[in-house]
């Protein structure tokens, strides 16, 4: 294989692996939007909150990685409940813009709490997957990227099982489609909302662990980066569409790695946002979306 094709394929693999992290972020945004019809702008901060919580046992007891993953999930779920309680529970119905601002307020509060707790310096994170690249045929694969791919496959299998094969999932889909009708049939909206929050927050915990592992250090600014990626992927795929989010995440990942390799870092984000703009102009409801808001 000529060199350029080899490079392109290697970046394709990297992009698919890293893109599955973007897919997870988009998945968290989109599930919540699908069920509650509201955008949670504090989601990126929830992810970082989970990662920071997992630093506590890491620094105190040098716990193994799987304990950190679990504590990241626990931390994110706790913060997620707080977000639901403060930003959504008592909000009056029928005001589209209000939840955007309450979650912005929460984003500010969570970020500030993190800055206060850590003094705004990057904190070294665990490197459970080692530093050595794995050789796979002619390609070098980063082990943490591979771990992200495995985690994403596991998470999405679990989520699809939950949504399509369980009573809870059926209730969630019913609420997503027709909240009033679902309520008449005995589905408790509040219970579904809280459980959806629990699900997406647990996902945030997983994302927090793997995102910070791949970056190497926990920094407060990562919340903005995660929020940006999440919004782009969610909208690229179509709000409320899980398949769209997966597709959008992988596409963004591949595009980023290819442009970074062939054109350099400075073009990476420009192309990503131009792609977003172009896709929305051609398909105003996202890649997989048919219904508009």
């Amino acid at each position: 294989m000529p060199g350029i094709l080899l490079d392109a394929t290697e970046q394709l693999l990297n992009g698919l692996m890293y893109g599955s992290l973007y897919a997870l972020i988009g998945g968290g945004f989109t599930i919540l939007f699908g069920v509650m019809r509201k955008l949670n702008l504090a989601y990126g901060s929830t992810i970082m909150a989970g990662a920071y919580v997992s630093l506590i046992p890491f620094y105190l007891f040098k716990v193994p990685a799987w304990v950190m993953l679990l504590s990241s999930i626990a931390g994110a779920v706790a913060v997620g409940f707080l977000v639901e309680l403060v930003c959504f529970r008592f909000l009056r119905k029928g005001h589209e813009l209000a939840p955007l601002l309450t979650t912005i307020g929460m984003l500010i509060v969570i970020d500030e709490a993190i800055v206060h707790a850590t003094g705004a310096v990057g904190l070294d994170y665990a490197r459970p997957f080692g530093e050595e690249s794995l050789a796979w045929g002619p390609f070098l694969v980063r082990p943490d990227y591979l771990a992200i791919l495995v985690a994403a496959l596991a998470c999405f299998s679990l989520i699809f099982f939950l949504i399509h094969r369980t009573r809870l999932g059926r209730a969630m889909r019913a609420v997503a489609e027709r909240p009033q009708a679902a309520q008449i049939l005995g589905v408790s909206l509040r219970r579904i909302n809280v459980l959806t929050f629990a699900l997406t927050s647990a996902l945030a915990g997983v994302i927090g662990f793997f995102a910070v592992v791949s970056v190497g250090a926990a920094r407060p600014e990562l919340a903005v980066w995660l929020t940006g990626k999440g919004l782009v992927v969610t909208v690229l795929g179509g709000l409320g569409s899980l398949r769209g989010a997966i597709l959008g995440g992988l596409l963004l990942g591949v595009l980023e790695f290819e442009t970074m390799w062939f054109l350099g870092t400075s073009y990476r984000d420009i192309l990503a946002f131009l792609l977003l703009f172009a896709i929305l102009v051609v398909r105003p409801a996202g890649l997989a979306g048919a219904r508009a808001t």
Binding site: L39, V86, C87, F90, L91, R92, H95, L97, A98, P99, L100, L101, T102, I104, G105, M106, L107, I108, V109, D111, E112, A113, H116, V224, T227, G228, L231, V232, T234, V235, L239, S266, D269, I270, F273, L274, L276, F277, L280, V281, P284, A285, G286, A292, T293
Partner: protein, 305 residues
């Protein structure tokens, strides 16, 4: 004293950003990319005075016009998209603008200074205001005059046919189209005008601070600019101005609290939305004030209940 003048100047500049988002919002759209127009206005107006030797006013107009033009060009494709999709699409536009300015280099060496957009270094030494010996207070006067002028335009818009047309498009596009309103044209026009207002704010900003870089027009500015109108209320143009006054003076005023400042700030945004989900100056309040200011005379012959 200088400190308060600086805060008042920032309030004026941010009020223009808020008004820009408001103008898009009253035609039923949500933009999360007005910081892009702010950046365009800032860079162009800065180039006007610092590189091309133009006076302040033409430079500001140039920046605003160019931002407005870009608004119209972007508006045509962008306005196919609605609601949150549009908000994110415009955010994408804002980020593209930011990243272009992160990469663009167009500098001249004037004296011993390198002036002009200089990539990640930003655009430094826009010293027109300082070189001409304006005091902070005088420049605040210029900012206040511009904001007042724009506010008057909004006031006139509110009571003009065009204003009613915008509100009609916001309420119901289909109904508006049925009564003969060219919905696309109205939306693109509003988007272009909003771009110009944000560009004007940017032009004032770079002359106020003498400096801008790509980091200053990133996500936090986008968040701030939608916070002003939503918190202040979309019932009247007073809303976004009030939002800017409150939030900017809060961030500065709360400095006495040091540590707790941002907690109070974020908390206040949440509480305000829980209590007044349509903002402080909502439609109901506007109606009440209007009735109070000008009680409508009863139509002749009407039964008084």
């Amino acid at each position: 004293m200088d400190y308060y003048v600086a805060i008042a100047s920032i309030i004026g500049i941010h009020a223009l950003l808020g008004l820009s988002v408001y103008l898009v919002a009253i035609s039923g759209q949500m933009s999360f990319g007005q910081q892009g127009f702010f950046a365009i206005g800032a860079y162009l107006a800065g180039m006007g005075t610092a590189l091309w030797g133009l006076p302040l006013l033409p430079s500001l107009v140039l920046g605003a016009l160019f931002a407005g033009l870009i608004g119209i060009v972007v508006g045509f494709p962008a306005l196919r998209v609605r609601g949150l999709y549009l908000a994110i699409a415009t955010y994408g536009f804002g980020e593209v603008v930011r990243l272009v300015f992160l990469n663009i280099r167009y500098t001249k060496t004037i004296g011993d200074r390198v002036v002009g957009p200089n990539g990640a270094e930003g655009f430094r030494h826009v010293r027109y205001v300082f070189d001409r010996g304006f005091t902070g207070l005088q420049f605040l006067g210029i900012i206040a005059a511009v904001v007042a002028g724009v506010a008057v335009l909004f006031y006139l818009l509110d009571r003009s046919k065009l204003g009613a047309t915008l509100r009609a498009v916001e309420e119901d596009e289909v109904a508006a189209a049925t009564v003969g309103i060219d919905v696309t044209r109205v939306k693109v026009l509003a988007f272009g005008a909003a771009g110009a207002v944000a560009g004007l704010g940017g032009g004032l900003f770079i002359h106020f601070s003498s400096y801008i870089d790509h980091d200053m027009v990133a996500l936090p500015l986008a968040i701030a600019s939608i916070t002003y109108p939503i918190l202040g209320g979309l019932g009247s143009f007073v809303g976004p101005i009030l939002g800017a006054v409150l939030l900017v003076s809060l961030t500065e005023g709360l400095r006495v609290l040091h540590e707790l400042r941002m907690f109070v700030y974020g908390g206040l945004i949440i509480v305000t939305m829980l209590v007044r989900p349509r903002g402080l100056v909502d439609e109901a309040l506007v109606l009440r004030v209007k009735r109070w200011v000008r009680p409508r005379p009863m139509p002749r012959g009407a039964d008084v209940p």
